[in-house]
C-alpha cells in the first residue's frame, strides 16, 4: 500500500464521516479539525482507516499529525513497520 493509497483511504473515510465535505478537493495540507471534523469524528476516521489496512496501533501514536498528509504518513509507516 503506497502513501497515496493511504491518503486516499483517509479521504474516503473523512467523506463518509463528514458528508458535508463530499464536494471538497482534499489536499495533504488540509487539517481534519479545520475541515470541521470534531475529535470524535477524527477518531472514527482514523479507526476506519486502520481497519481497512488491518493495522493495529494506539490512536495516541497518531495524535501528532497536523494534517491529512502527515496522518497518512504516520499510518503508512505503521502499516509497513
Amino acid at each position: 500500500m503506497s502513501h497515496q493509497e493511504v491518503f486516499d483511504l483517509v479521504v474516503k473515510h473523512t467523506r463518509e464521516v463528514v458528508p458535508e465535505l463530499d464536494g471538497h478537493t482534499f489536499e495533504a495540507t488540509d487539517s481534519l479539525r479545520e475541515l470541521g471534523a470534531n475529535s470524535m469524528d477524527r477518531a472514527d476516521i482514523i479507526m476506519m482507516t486502520l481497519e481497512a489496512l488491518s493495522v493495529s496501533t494506539p490512536l495516541a501514536e497518531l495524535a501528532g499529525a497536523n494534517n491529512i498528509g502527515e496522518l497518512a504518513k504516520l499510518i503508512h509507516d505503521k502499516s509497513t513497520a
Partner: protein, 414 residues
Amino acid sequence: MTSRLPDRHDAVITGLGVTAAVGQGKKEFASALFEGRHAFAPLRRPGRSAPTADPEAPFLGAELSELPVPEGVRARTLRTASLSAHAAVLTLDEAWREAGLDDADPARIGLVVGGSNVQQRELTRLHARHADQPAYLRPTYGLTFMDTDLCGICTERFPIRGFAHTLGGASASGLLAVLQAVWAVRSGQVDVCVALGALMDLSYWECQAFSAMGAMGSHRFADDPGAACRPFDRQRDGFLFGEACGAVVVEREGARRHPEPYARVLGLATAVDGNRDPDPSLAGEISVIEGALAEAGLPAGDVEYVNPHGTGSLIGDETELRALRESGLGDARINATKSITGHGLSAAGAVEVVATLLQMRERRLHPTRNLVDPVDPSFRWVRQAALPFPFETALSLSMGFGGLSSAICLGKWR
C-alpha cells in the same frame, strides 16, 4: 352546565409528536387509529432474528417504514445515530413545531427521555461485527451505547438548555417520563418540559427472552399476523412488539404565549409493588388509579374514557380490568391502542397519551382490533369501528416489570 373539571391544576399539554409503524406523524397515526389499520408482520429488521433462527417461525410485530431526515439534522449526526435516536429527534420535531417552542426561553425548557437499554438491536449488531476484531470498534461507541445519546442528539438539534436526562421504568417509561415532565413544570424547575417515550429497539435476544417467558406472542396466530395482537380477547397469547416513539410537550399554563392546549393534566400517580417479577399487582394498579383521581378531584364515575395498558398479556389484561372495575371505572368507554400499534415498551405510555389526546380532540374513539370475545364483556368496549364520542375526561395507565404502575388523568382544555 357546571364544569366537572377542577381548575387548580396549571400543567397543560400543548404539543404532540408520534412515530409508529401504522403512521408517522399525528395525521397519519390518527387515521390509522380510527380506521383500525395494522402493520403486523414477521419482524425483518437486521438483528431481530437470531443467525440460527428458523425462517419459518419468525417473531411477529410492527416495524417502522423508512424515517425521513428531520430538518436541521445533519447527515454526519445520523451516521452514528441509532434508530431510537433518529425516531426521537424526528418525533420531537413534530411536537416542538406544534407547541411553537422556538419562541420559548431555552433555559426554561427540559427534556425527559423515557426508557433504558433502548438501543439493544444496534448494540447487538455492533458487537457481532467487532466480535473478532474489537480493536477496530469505533471510538464513538463510547458515546452512542448510552441511552443518553438520545438526549445529546435532541438537545444539539433543539435549543433545550434547562435539563435533559433519561428515565427508566420498563414498559411504564413513557408515561413516567410524562409524569416527571409534569412535576418539573409544577415545581418551577422549568416552564416547558418535553417527555419522550423512546423507541425500544429490541434485538433477537430480547425477543427470544420475552417469547420464552411467555410475555411475547404469538405462536397461536403465526400464520395470520393481523389477528395476532388481541388485547383483552380470550384468544390472546401475549403482546406483539411495535416500534414507536411519542413526544408530549408539557408546560405551565400562561408562562409564555403558547398554542391552545389539548388538555390539562388533572392528576398523576405512580407506585411500586415491591415485586421484582413481571407479575401485575391488583393493589398497585388500584392505588395509582385512585391516586390520580384523588389528585384530579374527580369521582371515578366522571371519567368518561380509559386508555388502558392492555398489552395482550394473559394475566396482565385480566388484572387491569379487575383494577378498573374495583376502582369504579367499569362504566367508562374503553379501547386498546396496542391492538393497533403493538407494544412499544418504553414508548408505549407516551404514545398512548398522544392517542388519548388525539381522540379527545377528534371527539371519537378508535376501535379495538381483534376484540372478538372480550375477557369481560360487561365493559363498554369500542370494538369493530370508531365511535363518535365527545369526552372531556380520560385516564391512561402504564405498567412495567419490576412492580411499576402509573396513571395520568387528563381533562380537555377549554
